[in-house]
Symmetry: C2
Subunit: 459 residues, 2 copies
């Protein structure tokens, strides 16, 4: 482990308890005022996949556990709430000693998952479990979306290097940091984001921008000046004309002789395919076989797949905006829904938005090394297959099972991707969705509770 | 001013100097090592509009100025960089006393703007100005995208109330907070995000979720319990069946008599139009004319426009995900480009990505109260019209002109939206883009520098 990186580099938010929708707090007061303190089960899941996704990679657990451990209302937060003249003073007094005391079950980060499967379940007194909703979705949504998009790009790039260049257009600094981590879990080798390197130990990467070239009176001088500071760098050759730029790199090799250690050239233009063949030939003719070609500029999984299929001589891809904002699916239909209260299964019956009752488990069944189906069951059931949810917190304290290194998550994601049926790993929508079967017991319970609630709008 | 809200509620990031792409730091060392300390001008602008946008609203200045004032490398950050074995020790020593000493010019927040117009320009020694790139784009991009999307929703809603429900699916907590502020500048009245209320003084709003209803054995009891804590609340009526839910609100009015103060009902389903007419009639028949109807659920500007055009009796809109992630345009083609170094204009000449040289000013010309065209000129020029960029920082210190209240920004945005030609205020793409004319001088300079650079790849 690299001791120079540590979570202390992350932004701190002492008032994260207020990072919530106001209705969580009003409901909390109403539960409290009505002495409703029984345990609830809430499930965090995605209702349906965006049409451009065949699977998701669960991410976000670590940040949520940190939040749950540290959750409290500071005196400043209580002052603010008091000033709203909306809450009872005795309730705010009670809030001053609030902490999370519940149990949490979750899929480990990097697990492949599907609609209706809980990524996390919270079992806690209802007010406690309710309050978490907004923050939990915010973190799981963003990180799962990011990892799921990156997985497609990693699959498209086959074994070639992919680097995250997204920070500038990812939405804000929290997403910038945590997406870099989620991308890395999904198989992206490195990030340009220096703070993500410091905070998480994600390898960092980066060389030069067009502005460095433009600040010099000529391109050759710029290359030489940069190589003097960073002999093993990658030189950006397309500021004026990529072929001319590459010829200057070749000229530099001639001038530096044995001292020439440049690792590659970068092209950041639209005609990457044609250009890469042309420049590869130019470099090879000059005997610079060891100088790689690195491509960037509006890349996404489709462009990369096309380059790979045409055998373009590109050694790595810098992917920015489209991975960073998950451009083709910038949100998931992720929700956090009540599944049980006071020992009774609860569900929403609205058309198209109905939910499943009870605490749940997911059993993943495989044949040889390929996943064949999941069984979505009540937590008390036993089915063949590997259970995906494990307990990560008990009475508000993290369990050892919740502590994993980034390398472990990355390895898991790699194995999960390799075990998905091939049709799901393709970029195009799979004709047949991955089968998630509801257990007969859960199905009966769902029908029973639905019938009762429709009869008299009650449970 | 409400003294209970303050920026101290915002997350803090003492190592924000590392929130940058690695190449900014490598370039900084190369500039330093090559004694390149002359002043550079960098322009932050959007190259072209997404096809679903006719204009943008500039946002992000306040956070960028705070970042610039506080920018420094902590001993921990320097340790991390040292551990990379990539940088020179004497360079890292120089970084330890780094601070931003430059000048900044910017459009005030809430200004309507168009492609190629600088939202901000930085004039500083080149290494300083370069280092800022990633953070500046990250903040301006996210906030301008958010305000520009919200402006469309506000325009579609006519004068009806719009509330931001986006926190759970906005990408991360930084974007969640700052989008709430950007939305408010664009005319969104309130947010569900409590911390955004605490930090910025944005009015907050929120009542109850489906889970509150479901936690009760029946819906009527849930309404009664909630109204006891919050007599003037809005009750969510669609957990089971919206008409039945509304009848329970009417029943509650009967039971409470003069004590009944419920302000409205909320529907969160897909058939909002039909439902709103039906429920309005039900409420009116019961003489509950004062109980409003509030709608939410997958809303965007198009759905809202359709509801408004069909005169659906809806009094306010809660808008979440689609505004929160700017679903139809989740990124802007925003860049930060070198425009001048050591007194010489600089530009990029790559096809489709060429830039304009020199420090710039934008002059906005209007006829009566309608904007007719902008002139994009060199900063030294004078043209008729209102200059949009003002100096906000001198030698690294904020100028009084940079300090505005949220109310001032909100008023500005309101006036800007009202002054745009009607075709730009429509949701559909305007047939004719707003005219941004390049001044003859800037045009000549651009041609002169381009010719020279194409001749010998130099300036």
């Amino acid at each position: 482990m690299n001791m120079t990186h540590t979570k202390e580099f992350l932004p701190s938010c002492p008032n994260a308890a207020l990072l919530t929708d106001l209705y969580e707090l009003t409901m909390l007061q109403a539960y409290w005022a009505n002495s409703m303190h029984d345990d609830a089960v809430f499930s965090l899941f995605v209702r349906k996949l965006p049409k451009q996704r065949n699977f998701l990679l669960a991410c976000g657990l670590e940040d949520v556990l940190t939040y749950l451990e540290e959750l409290h209302f500071t005196p400043r937060a209580l002052d603010y709430l008091y000033g709203l003249q909306m809450f009872r003073e005795d309730f705010l007094h009670w809030l001053s000693s609030f902490s999370f005391q519940g149990d949490v079950y979750a899929m480990p980060e990097g697990t492949a998952c599907f609609p209706n499967e809980p990524l996390m379940e919270v079992v806690a007194p209802i007010g406690q479990a309710q309050l978490l909703e907004t923050y939990l979705i915010n973190q799981y949504h963003m990180q799962t979306m990011a990892a799921s998009k990156a997985a497609r790009i990693v699959l498209a790039a086959k074994r070639k290097r992919v680097i995250d260049f997204g920070l500038r257009r990812i939405h804000g600094i929290d997403a910038g940091l945590k997406s870099a981590r989620s991308f890395h879990i999904a198989g992206v080798q490195a990030t340009s984001n220096v703070l993500a390197g410091a905070a998480y130990g994600v390898p960092i990467s980066g060389t030069m921008a067009h502005s460095f070239i433009q600040a010099h009176d000529n391109e050759y001088e710029a290359f030489k000046n940069f190589a003097r500071s960073f002999p093993q760098t990658v030189l950006l050759v397309d500021t004026f004309d990529s072929l001319e730029g590459t010829r200057k790199v070749i000229q530099l090799a001639g001038e530096l002789g044995a001292e020439f250690q440049i690792q590659g050239i970068r092209i950041d233009s639209s005609d990457l395919k044609e250009l890469s063949f042309e420049l590869r030939q130019e470099l090879d003719t000059a005997d610079l076989h060891g100088v790689g070609i690195f491509a960037s500029g509006s890349l996404d999984e489709h462009v990369i797949q096309d380059l790979i299929e045409s055998s373009a001589p590109i050694d790595g891809f810098g992917v920015g905006t489209k991975m960073g904002v998950s451009n083709d699916a910038p949100y998931l239909d992720m929700v956090y829904k009540l599944a049980s209260y006071a020992g009774k299964g609860r569900m929403k019956t609205s058309p198209g938005k109905s939910t499943l009752p009870h605490q749940k488990q997911v059993f993943r069944q495989e044949r040889e090394t390929e996943y064949i189906q999941d069984i979505l069951a009540a937590f008390s059931e036993t089915h063949p297959g590997r259970p995906l949810l494990r307990q990560v917190m008990h009475n508000g304290e993290r369990l050892p099972a919740s502590r994993e290194t980034l390398a472990e998550m990355k390895d898991r994601a790699h194995n999960e991707l390799a075990s998905l049926p091939q049709a799901l790993r393709n970029l195009s929508p799979a004709q047949k969705a991955y089968p998630v079967r509801i257990s007969p017991y859960l199905d009966q319970e769902s029908a029973r509770i639905r019938a009762k609630s429709l009869e008299n709008n009650s449970f």
